[in-house]
């Protein structure tokens, strides 16, 4: 093989591909921490199949001298742990891609096209103690190429494996060292240069994924109750809350189904405890009736809805933005709700604690829409701002004549809870009078509907303003919501075209009143959504009458890549 000569400037993207069960997740966990703690900006995300063994899964890790927050197609280095990994990822490979693979697993035809470096992973792993160590050898190899000091790598290995006992830890350290040695030999024989600046400050950053940012938002908001039924991709939040439950005095209960989950959370909330449920797709479909209940009895609740492609079971482990309509129109009758969709770690933390305040203030269900891509994406940020967190529960001590649904100017009745004060707190899913008792007085019915809907008017006034990225005098406006923030914002930066700006929505309902103004100012509007019917542009049209010109829709279960956003912008009429 001829000598490889390559320079990686500013940014490198590494993909690990292999079967489920080969330990790719472990390598990801080790490498992201090693990269961050070496002073690089880091990003990682995974795509995987709904199976416990076999198939092909992959994880993208980017190391960079500037913040990186998005999925990219480009693969600079592919670490192939299984034969199928190259087949699975070949549309993303270029002749510049370096493939590092275990001996003998790469097809001859690929060796003709790509730079393939075969290393005796299995042989060395067997020497150390078994094939199980091959992923750590590969991690060591990559770590050396990334110029990560061995002591940092070893610390990451130790953090990962110390709970498995001294003996196994020693072998893992040894496996990592062998990876380093292999890479040293390789680097000695080839001309590979990494020109990515390190920054000491990054070592002090935190490294979290979307799930953890939302989970910390729940904890910061003093959420004390989660009932949920496992379902990908919402399960990671359930895990996060369950694992922190004892430390933060939270009840986590795995309910028998999603119906019980939301009803239980509403029971908890009725007693004045902030509560949340977490679910996905079909699981949320089962909860719908209780969304109406929350609206009717005016008991607040937060619903974390991590989206995946449907309908029905769909693609369980993939990403989508297909359940906006489901959340928006869920439940019977007409009742207000708010929907947030964070696109950054900072926003995820912030909208989560705000979601609890909004739910309590208006006594409504509030949604946090996420998706597999966002939930599983990691990157470093300086910290999380807990100083700004405000907790406003708006609970009153009741008096003897307390009326749970007292008519007020803004539709919000003072919220009492049982056992706190002299009054009776009566909530009813039937239409009810001011005291909460069942009624069929049709005049009261009208007043109650108006009371509940009146709240929406006030919620609109405090809707989060969409964030405009770019110059004010834009000609082309890109619109996105939730997890598309990463690819769109990085594409915008890469395109470097001052005519283009990006309007990012972190609250998608109710819409901020400036929406129409932003859209009308543009000569051309382009929306990116991970669904097939452009649910958000339809909502914008419904609310503002404005029809967005171009809809770029992706619904194969994968997130947009930066390249894809740029490519689409180049190919739309008039090109940019």
């Amino acid at each position: 093989m001829s000598k490889i000569s390559q320079v990686f400037t500013g940014d490198i993207s590494i993909v690990l591909g292999g079967e489920a069960g080969q330990g790719i997740q472990t390598v990801e966990n080790i490498l992201v921490k090693a990269v961050k703690n070496s002073g690089y900006h880091v990003f990682s995300t995974k795509e995987y199949m709904s199976r416990v063994r076999g198939g092909v899964n992959s994880t993208l890790i980017r190391a960079s001298s500037s913040p990186v927050r998005s999925y990219v197609d480009q693969i600079d280095i592919l670490v192939a742990l299984s034969e199928d990994a190259v087949d699975h990822l070949k549309s993303r490979l270029s002749t510049d891609t370096l493939i590092i693979a275990a001996d003998g697993i790469i097809k001859e035809e690929y060796k003709q096209i790509f730079n393939v470096i075969e290393i005796p992973l299995m042989e060395i792993a067997t020497q150390i103690g078994g094939p199980i160590f091959s992923n750590i050898i590969a991690a060591g190899f990559i770590s050396k190429i990334l110029n990560i000091p061995t002591e940092i790598f070893d610390k990451c290995i130790t953090a990962m494996f110390k709970r498995k006992g001294e003996k196994i830890l020693k072998k893992d350290i040894q496996a990592g060292k062998r990876g380093y040695q292999l890479a040293e030999t390789f680097l000695g024989e080839n001309n590979l240069r990494l020109d990515i600046g390190k920054n000491e400050e990054i070592k002090d950053h935190i490294l979290i994924n979307g799930t953890e940012a939302i989970g910390m938002g729940c904890i910061a908001a003093e959420c004390k109750f989660m009932s949920a039924y496992p379902m990908t991709p919402s399960s990671p939040l359930q895990l996060f809350i369950a694992q922190n439950a004892d430390d933060f005095e939270i009840i986590f209960e795995q309910s028998e189904d999603e119906i019980a989950a939301l009803n239980m959370a509403l029971g908890a909330s009725y007693t004045g405890v902030r509560s949340i449920t977490a679910t996905s797709g079909s699981g949320f479909a089962l909860m719908e009736e209780a969304v109406g209940l929350s609206g009717m009895i005016e008991v607040p609740v937060v619903i974390y809805l991590a989206q995946r492609p449907g309908p029905a079971v769909g693609l369980p482990t993939r990403t989508a933005q297909e359940d906006l309509n489901l959340a928006l129109y869920s439940g019977t009758g007409e009742t207000p709700r708010a929907i947030f969709a964070p696109g950054t770690m900072e926003d995820a933390f912030q909208v989560t604690w705000k979601a609890f305040n909004l739910a309590d203030k208006y006594q409504i269900p509030v949604f946090i829409l996420s998706d597999q891509y966002f939930a599983d994406t990691y990157y470093n940020i300086p910290s999380i701002n807990i100083k700004d967190v405000i907790i406003e529960k708006n609970i009153v001590k009741t008096n003897k004549n307390y009326k749970r649904y007292k008519f007020t100017e803004n539709g919000i009745s003072p919220r009492g809870i049982p056992g706190f004060g002299e009054g009776m707190v009566v909530v009813d899913s039937d239409e009810h009078d001011e005291e909460g008792h069942i009624t069929e007085d049709l005049e009261i019915r009208n007043q109650m509907v108006d009371k509940r809907l009146k709240k929406l008017k006030y919620m609109k006034k405090e809707a989060l303003k969409p964030e405009l990225i770019g110059e004010d005098d834009y000609q082309i406006l890109l619109i996105g919501w939730g997890s598309t923030f990463g690819p769109i914002s990085e594409a915008l930066e890469k395109m470097g075209n001052k005519k283009i700006a990006f309007l990012n929505y972190k609250q998608v309902y109710p819409l901020h009143e400036d929406t129409r103004g932003y859209l009308e100012k543009a000569d051309r509007t382009v929306i990116f959504e991970n669904n097939a019917t452009s649910q958000f542009s339809n909502l914008i049209k419904l609310e503002t009458g404005f029809e967005i010109d171009t809809k770029i829709l992706k619904y194969n279960g994968m997130p947009f890549s930066v390249e894809e956003v740029i490519h689409n912008m180049h190919s739309i009429e008039g090109g940019v």
Binding site: A245, N263, Y270, E289, I386, V426, V427
Partner: protein, 288 residues
């Protein structure tokens, strides 16, 4: 305490004259009065149906939720504030039909709540369809050839699941029903009281007279601590036994199993976030 404490004078009661629900309401009020339960500390939870309207006719805090789902909010309420007395009142359709899954899993979970199930073997509010407990050959406007399904036996099901308290009462005997309800409320753990009641409008088979003739009380010497024995008695259907079938005091309640109540009984709404712990959690994301 005033015995009329639980009365709701202005309530517009939606039950038919002669309905078994009236006697159950009366038994429940007497039980609450005898146990000196303060309405302010009491939460009645219900689903949908004629039985589920009961909380509107008894002065208390009320969570009248969705059809079949009442055990879920009841569990959430008790877990979040164990100081409250939580009683779930609904009918056979709500609890054993629509809410069957919650019934099973609430027995497993064992929250310290009381579950009164008005069992009239028919759907009243929707006007006379069969319920899960309707007997075979029961003819209704929709089960035109009669019910062919095996009737659901809540007592044997609950005992099979090692439910911590299982009883059956008959609304026609207010005094004994009161006593059974009192025992159920006093019991620590999930307590099921299935209450036979006539539906004077839609069930012309299982009438007041029928229940009188087809039930009897478990003998005084009966000991409700043997699961197998209790199960046997639960299967009897020549005549249906009434009384407390089974008690298992060894099961921990859901609340008792929760870590956060091990050294601290404070209801959750009074507990604050420990910011320093959150800071520590955030900091842990900086290291390796």
């Amino acid at each position: 305490m005033n015995p009329n404490l639980f009365n709701m004078e202005d309530a517009d009661v939606a039950w038919c004259p002669g309905c078994g629900n009236f006697s159950i309401l009366s038994s429940l009020k007497s039980a609450l009065y005898d146990l000196k339960i303060d309405p302010k500390e009491l939460v009645l939870v219900s689903g949908i149906g004629q039985a589920a309207k009961l909380p509107h006719y008894l002065k208390s805090n009320v969570f009248n939720g969705l059809h079949g789902r009442s055990l879920s909010p009841a569990t959430g309420i008790k877990a979040s504030n164990p100081e409250l007395t939580v009683i779930d009142v609904s009918g056979d359709g709500c609890m054993y039909g629509e809410g069957g899954n919650h019934f099973i899993h609430t027995i497993r979970r064992n929250p310290n709540i009381t579950n009164l199930v008005h069992n009239n073997m028919v759907y009243g509010l929707t006007k006379g369809q069969a319920s899960p407990t309707s007997q075979k050959n029961f003819v209704t406007p929709v089960q035109v050839d009669g019910v062919f399904e095996e009737p659901f036996n809540p007592i044997s099901t609950a005992i099979a699941l090692n439910c911590s308290f299982v009883a059956r009462a008959f609304s026609g005997d207010v005094e004994k029903t009161t006593e059974i309800i009192k025992e159920a409320i006093k019991h620590k753990g999930y307590a099921l009281v299935d209450i036979f009641q006539p539906c004077v409008t839609f069930n012309k088979v299982n009438t007041y007279q029928w229940f009188k003739e087809n039930t009897y009380y478990l003998e005084e010497s009966y000991q409700p601590h043997d699961q197998v024995q209790a199960f046997k008695r639960a299967l009897e259907s020549d005549k249906y036994p009434l009384g407390i079938f089974y008690i298992n005091n060894s099961r921990r309640t859901f609340e008792e199993s929760l870590e956060l109540y091990q050294d601290n009984q404070t209801p959750l709404y009074k507990r604050k976030l420990d910011i320093s712990k959150l800071e520590k959690l955030i900091d842990s994301k900086r290291d390796f």
